[in-house]
Assembly symmetry: C2
Homo-oligomer: 209 residues x 2
Amino acid sequence: MAKGRPKKELDSSTESIIKEAARKVFHQKGYAATRTRDIAEEAGLNLALLNYYFKSKEKLFEIITFETLFNFMNTLGIVFHDENSSFEEKIEALATRYIDFLSNEPDIPLFIISAVRNNPESFANKIPIKNMVLQSVFYKQFLEKSERNEITDTNPLQLLLNLMGFIIFPFIAKPIFENVTGTKEKQFQDMMNERKALIPMWVKNMIRP
Amino acid sequence: MAKGRPKKELDSSTESIIKEAARKVFHQKGYAATRTRDIAEEAGLNLALLNYYFKSKEKLFEIITFETLFNFMNTLGIVFHDENSSFEEKIEALATRYIDFLSNEPDIPLFIISAVRNNPESFANKIPIKNMVLQSVFYKQFLEKSERNEITDTNPLQLLLNLMGFIIFPFIAKPIFENVTGTKEKQFQDMMNERKALIPMWVKNMIRP
DNA sequence: GTCTATAGGGGGATAGAC
DNA sequence: GTCTATCCCCCTATAGAC
């Protein structure tokens, strides 16, 4: 375990150090506002090394964007395609996993949304997200429920939007929310953990009031 | 009506033209990614005029940010403080107004969120949003309902988060959503209009399942 | 591979003519 | 008030020493 080279990341090669630094800074500030100097400084390395390993700021950004997006969507894919869990279990798993994930990396939603917005076409081509959702076990389970009249005519796309909104929106709105309500970091986190149980309930009430 | 000078905007003074152009470009691309040259071009005017009227890119951005934020929060304030409407009516009014508003200006949520994120302290000082929510008629009506046991112990902050998420999240997620589901502009807009009636229902189910 | 030094270009801001 | 021309800094990228 100590000997076998780790399959990914966390090795201390210069390349990985730069990538980690780039990830951090890009996630925080987005493409336009980050300077390559910020990344070099964050990495504790010289600016010239970025170009040596990654050719340009843009290439480096593309790599980070792809990995971030893939990572994010993969979590969704794994849960959505699980043959051995019920519809309800999937919702609970999704809420729990993503809330834990986003609690550690709250900048990711805004980063992804901005990246896609600035480059919608490249996004569509790189990751087969369409299939990830519309051909998932989750989606099929929803349609089956609907056919068995266990659902009071709810548009599945509205449901999907709300489900993802329940999970993601608080992290996006966090800075404003904390300002408006006077909530502090810890309270916010408590609320997010509360939502792991609340979201499945809300979704249930939504499809079967 | 034609003679009385309009109280605000839409006059064709150079200053207003620049501001409108700045609003458009800043909303679309954010601070870091817009060049003052973009704004000048959008306005059909010379670059030097921006500095003549607004001193610097940063000052111009501050003005746009303040006005955008004020405008957005004001809509919320008006609805939340209405003494003559019920709790349920307020939710419906909020959904309808904001969905119409955001349908015309879908870039605003992301703009505001990014602006606040990059400058949280200046945000808190400029607009008394805290009072706007926590001392609103809306909030009081919620607490009264809660005391009369018309609500099955729902955290008001969770409700607030969900209500705003129902309205705002779709517009933030729009580029990704359209990609993932293959939805087109018109379908998306139909879904948003559908939500004007759905949101009050969802909220109702949330506090009284 | 890693550094220092610098080229090269872009973008915010201003001088000065009209 | 509005324009053209230009300054000058900052940032990305690269050349070249070690």
